[in-house]
């Protein structure tokens, strides 16, 4: 199945990836090749088959709602590219 250049740009936007024009072209070919391999899935008649999201049956796990130590502010900020006053520093929102 072929994927269009416009679709590649749309998906890149959804994935928050700024691609060069050359990269868009490359991905258009690569993704089309891959989709050709996997598209037979979409044509299978699987009416009535239950989907599996998790292969080993488990039920929800609950625990007592008690206060426990978590990541300290110091550790949480340790890998921050930029920080200020104990917070993550980011540029302005919007253009």
């Amino acid at each position: 199945m072929a994927i269009s250049e416009e679709q590649v740009r749309h998906v890149a936007m959804l994935a928050r990836l700024k691609l060069t024009d050359a990269h868009v072209t490359t991905l258009q070919h690569e993704l089309s090749d891959i989709l050709t391999q996997i598209e037979l899935i979409s044509s299978l008649d699987l009416e009535g088959v239950e989907p599996t999201s998790h292969a080993v049956a488990i039920t929800n796990v609950a625990r007592e709602d008690e206060i426990r130590p978590g990541l300290s502010q110091h550790d949480a900020l340790r890998n921050a590219p930029e920080q200020q006053d104990g917070a993550f520093l980011i540029p302005k929102f919007g253009g």
Partner: protein, 494 residues
């Protein structure tokens, strides 16, 4: 220093330390001496951790001096795939986007290994974020197969596999989402196991596909694999998908043999077009070995697994695209220095920080989950998963263990498949159905073809690890292959 770790197993190292024949410090020194000699050619490591190793060894040697009983992996040099957090190390996932990321907590499986006395010598190279089957997709360079430095070690846990194969660590941990432990295990002639989904906590491993990921060990012998499982398995409150089970000693039944065990050769998978006939022949020979040991060998079919590869290349990337959304340049990881606003920061930090295969998978997964395509791809793939689980359930009604090759070919040349993603994906055709079904499987060496190791995959029902390891141990004892690669045999510098 005459100590040669490549000829010692984990229990031998521990027992020698307990008997005061060697010290843990000497075991560490031997590991680094081997690394010094072969790592230049192999490049199994992203980071060496001599300070952590020396400190851990000193603790073991102090226990010996104090006459304390030693834990099961005391003084055993180990290494971890670089997607597992360990305080005092970087956890890079072999990605530029995490190149400087310092671990701020410990992965549970890693912590359990260290609490069992293991000594961490380093963090192992991998395909970026575990996306790949060759360890070529690393931002820090390719790992080479110790059997032939022009060939790949498999992937994505190629560094962990190569480190054990070349004798630079006695045990390592990898992670397996579609074959990333077993396939490099096969290509390097090591014992490599993916446990049942939920056996081992995933806490502290950087997630690829959360419904498929599982941590497991690499070792030279089946006994060591069982010992490592004893250490890393078990419920962890930090991972709600880890499963509560009665404690098992996986070493206890290793010697019981395979008499009466029902072994099924998966014939429809053996006949796949891409399977090297020489690999197929080795697997059929292995089946004969099982028969000669008293197993009841028959034929099994898994017809729905033909859809395993496409289902995996929807589910895996879909979950990955979601998991990798966290790498946005805000809280950690690479950030472009000159972003105009937050959107620009996201878009360029991610595009510059992720390598080509990561971008490919994020794009594929985002597409498969996007409006209008979700039902046709992701929904269908989840239904295929049900069919594959049913196939296995039927086969395990007749058989205790199923056999396939681990990989359709032996180790391929570096660069051979690097520009063809589809050809690369076919490397995992035998391993992927196991992840989709959540069952355990182990790859063990079953001979050489043209001087390169062939892996035999043994698959079992959920939580049947003991049965798999018992079968693997019987085969290993009977076949007695020497899986020491040439690089680990020679004494000259490489």
């Amino acid at each position: 220093m005459t100590l040669d770790l490549s000829s010692l197993t984990a229990p031998q190292v521990r027992d020698a330390i307990a008997a005061k024949e060697i010290t843990a410090a000497e075991a560490v020194a031997a590991a680094y001496a081997r690394i010094e000699r072969v790592e230049g050619g192999v490049h199994a490591f992203n980071q060496l951790t001599p300070e952590l190793a020396n400190a851990a060894a000193a603790r073991i040697d102090a226990m010996v001096a104090a006459g304390e009983e030693l834990p099961p992996l005391a003084g055993v040099p180990v290494a971890f795939k670089d997607n597992m957090n360990l305080i005092g190390t970087r956890t890079t996932c072999s990605s530029k986007i995490l190149a400087n990321y310092e671990s701020v907590y410990d992965c549970t499986a890693v912590r359990r290994m260290l609490d069992a006395g293991a000594v961490p010598v380093g963090k192992c190279n991998m395909d970026e974020f575990a996306f790949g089957s060759s360890t070529e997709n690393s931002a820090f360079g390719v790992t080479h197969n110790p059997w032939d430095l022009d060939r790949v070690p498999g992937g994505s846990s190629g560094g962990s596999a190569a480190a054990v194969s070349a004798g630079m660590a006695v045990l390592t941990l990898g992670s397996d989402t579609g074959g990333s432990i077993r396939q490099p295990g096969a290509l390097t002639g090591t014992v490599a196991m993916k446990p049942t989904y939920g056996r081992v906590s995933r806490y502290g491993i950087v997630a690829f596909a959360s419904s498929l990921d599982q941590i497991g060990p690499f070792s030279k012998t089946v006994e060591e694999c069982a010992m490592a499982l004893n250490v890393i398995c078990g419920k962890d409150p930090m991972d709600a998908t880890s499963v509560e089970r009665p404690a098992e000693d996986f070493t206890a039944t290793l010697g019981e043999g395979v008499r009466g065990l029902r072994v099924g050769v998966v014939t429809d998978l053996l006949e796949l077009e891409g399977c090297d006939p020489a690999v197929r022949a080795q697997v059929l020979k292995a089946a004969d070995t099982f028969a000669s040991l008293g197993a009841e060998v028959g034929e099994a079919q898994l017809p729905a697994t033909q859809y395993g590869l496409p289902a995996y290349y929807i589910i895996g990337p879909a979950e990955a695209s979601s998991n990798l959304a966290r790498f946005d340049g805000i809280r950690y990881g690479y950030r472009v220095p000159d972003a105009e606003d937050v959107m620009d920061l996201y878009m360029r930090s991610r595009a510059e920080g992720f390598g080509p295969e990561s971008i490919r998978r994020i794009m594929l997964g985002t597409y498969a989950l996007s409006a209008g395509y979700y039902d046709a791809y992701y929904g269908q793939a989840q239904k295929v998963r049900t069919l594959i689980i049913r196939d296995f359930a039927r086969a395990f009604a007749d058989y205790d263990v199923l056999l396939t090759p681990t990989s359709p070919t032996t180790a391929f040349k570096i660069g051979e498949k690097a520009t063809d993603p589809v050809a690369m994906y076919l490397s995992d055709v035998y391993t992927i159905p196991v992840n989709l079904a959540g069952i355990p499987a182990v790859s063990i060496p079953c001979g050489l073809v043209d001087g390169l190791p062939v892996g035999l995959q043994l698959m079992g029902a959920h939580f049947a690890e003991s049965t798999l390891l018992r079968a693997a141990a019987a085969f290993e004892a009977e076949s007695a292959f020497d899986m020491t690669p040439p690089i680990a045999r020679t004494t000259a510098a490489v």
